[in-house]
């Protein structure tokens, strides 16, 4: 059976600097995969390579076996990848409701009504400008916006970044719920401990290379190894 998402030997560059060195990873149906690593390890670049925002120079990205390498980002999104970018990238000058009208309507369980039910707070604040929302509300809006594409795979870049611990828990509950509803998830986190609570499988990147892969339970149990690999001693 083909994986929901498979990366095979991605080499990605920013200008002349070689960022990803042959990154391969797989996300199977219904799985939540954590992609961990220190700042600058190449986590965001991996996601940007998947979305073709920074297309990989060599290597292959497949979605359910279909090659999507270097396809225009909108095609990748419509093929079933919901992307929650780093820093959320909300349209700050537009209302919550307008933000939700940006993605095209794709048939499936998720529509604007359903995401308002998932995040009642967004419904309450639907007339507020995106820029006036709290960090947690912006994260919910970014997730809701990605869900409207009715994705098969959700990829999230540092959803806990800059959020208060209570809010982080709320966001993590929402992500756990996505997984229960059958979505496959690729979760990039600096906060490894947090991500490992939810993940089935974990990959660790260092200097653009995969230095560890295996069941999340292994790293969850072996704290010393987790700290050595992903450098999280000061977090969590």
């Amino acid at each position: 059976m083909s994986a929901v998402l498979a990366l095979e030997g991605l080499n990605t560059f920013y200008g002349k600097s070689h960022i990803l060195h042959g990154v391969s990873l797989r996300v199977e149906e219904g799985e939540l995969v954590a992609l961990l690593g220190r700042n600058g390890a190449g986590k965001t670049t991996t996601l940007r390579s998947i979305m073709s925002l920074t297309p990989p120079r060599t290597g292959r990205v497949t979605l359910h076996g279909r090659d999507i390498t270097r396809a225009p980002p909108y095609r990748i999104a419509r093929a079933g990848v919901g992307y929650v970018p780093e820093g959320r990238r909300i349209f700050g000058h537009m209302s919550v409701h307008e933000n939700l009208q940006v993605p095209p309507a794709v048939s499936g369980p998720w529509n604007i009504g359903a995401v308002y039910e998932l995040f009642p707070r967004l419904h309450e604040r639907r007339h507020s400008k995106g820029g006036r929302l709290s960090g947690g509300e912006q994260e919910m809006l970014a997730i809701a916006r990605a869900l409207l594409l009715n994705p098969k795979l959700l990829i999230l870049d540092e959803p806990s970044q800059g959020l208060a611990p209570v809010i982080v828990q709320e966001v993590m509950r929402a992500i756990a719920r996505m997984k229960r509803e059958g979505l496959s998830v690729l979760l990039v986190e600096q906060n490894a401990r947090l991500a490992l609570q939810l993940a089935d499988k974990a990959y660790v990147l260092s200097d653009g290379e995969v230095v560890h892969q295996g069941p999340a339970a292994v790293l969850r149990a072996d704290t010393a190894r987790m700290e050595a690999l992903a450098g999280v001693s000061h977090l969590g």
């Binding site: 925002l53 225009p72 909108y74 999104a77 990238r89 349209f91 993605p103 916006r145």
Partner: protein, 289 residues
């Protein structure tokens, strides 16, 4: 004296409307397409000449819609085959391209329609003053004001309430993100370019009815339109309209009070705005200061 001032201000308002329509299209294209469209003026002239050619067959009112649409067809070809390959590159490339295109198009207009200016025939019922005391108020000028109000009002409503409008606004802020959200930015940018060219074509016909046709009509209107954008604030569509009207009226009034400064006054206004409020009247904070 009072009558003279009202008359001059009104003249200026009409010119300002042409600037405003041009500036609005330029702003749209600068915002989403990231292109400073130096060919905007020649698309304007093209709209006017196309109307001049088809008006005898379809009449004034139909030419008002059809001629800008024909200009849009050419605009979409230009966007697809000349401008699209330059997206994502240094903005200087597209600026040079449209600058060259403007010269080519202007010469094509001279070749096809002749280099001598020509009058644009208006229906007689539009061309007579409405009353003796308001001798400057012709039906045509009312039509210019009404159409412009309708078109700009419609455009702002569309940007606010329709999906494509919402996407254009979102794309102005963050094109990469709307693309990752599943929006086909190639189609969106083409549509946006088309809307801008439609506004230019419409401005051309309306201006031709007032000022007549000449191959260089576009190049003489494009500079004030850039000034309108800077005065109104780069990045603000409403600002472009406001800027166009302000410099139009200012130049109209100066024509009455101190005619030799008529041309220079708009640049003086721009200089003052740039010194006092570099972002322009309605420009976003942080964009230019």
């Amino acid at each position: 004296m009072e009558a003279l001032l009202i008359y001059s201000a009104f003249n200026g308002l009409i010119t300002g409307i042409f600037y405003a329509l041009m500036a609005l299209g330029l702003s749209l294209i600068l915002g989403l397409n990231g292109v400073i469209n130096f060919a905007h003026g020649t698309f304007m002239a093209l709209g006017a000449y196309l109307a001049f050619t088809i008006e005898p067959y379809v009449g004034f009112w139909a030419s008002l819609v059809c001629a800008p649409l024909l200009a849009v067809v050419l605009g979409l070809l230009v966007e697809r085959w000349l401008i699209r390959p330059l997206y994502g590159r240094d903005p200087l490339f597209s600026l040079l391209l449209t600058f060259g295109l403007a010269m080519i198009m202007e010469d094509l207009i001279r070749t096809i329609w002749g280099s001598v200016g020509q009058p644009f025939a208006l229906p007689a019922y539009l061309n007579t003053p409405l009353s003796g005391s308001l001798f400057f108020l012709t039906g045509y000028r009312l039509v210019v004001i009404l159409i412009t109000a309708l078109i700009t009002g419609g455009l702002f409503a569309a940007l606010r309430y329709t999906r494509i409008g919402i996407r254009i606004r979102a794309g102005n802020a963050d094109l990469e993100t709307i693309s990752a959200m599943g929006v086909n930015i190639y189609v969106l940018r083409a549509a946006n370019f088309g809307i801008g060219i439609f506004l230019a074509g419409l401005a051309g016909i309306l201006a031709a009815g007032q000022l007549g046709l000449s191959p260089s009509m576009g190049s003489s209107l494009i500079m004030p339109s850039f000034v309108a954008i800077i005065v109104g604030g780069v990045g603000s569509l409403m600002g472009s309209v406001l800027g166009g009207l302000i410099i139009g009226i200012a130049s109209g009034l100066t024509a009455a009070l101190y005619p030799v400064a008529q041309e220079v006054v708009i640049y003086a206004i721009m200089a003052v705005v740039l010194v006092i409020r570099p972002r322009g009247l309605l420009g976003q904070e942080g964009l230019l200061e």
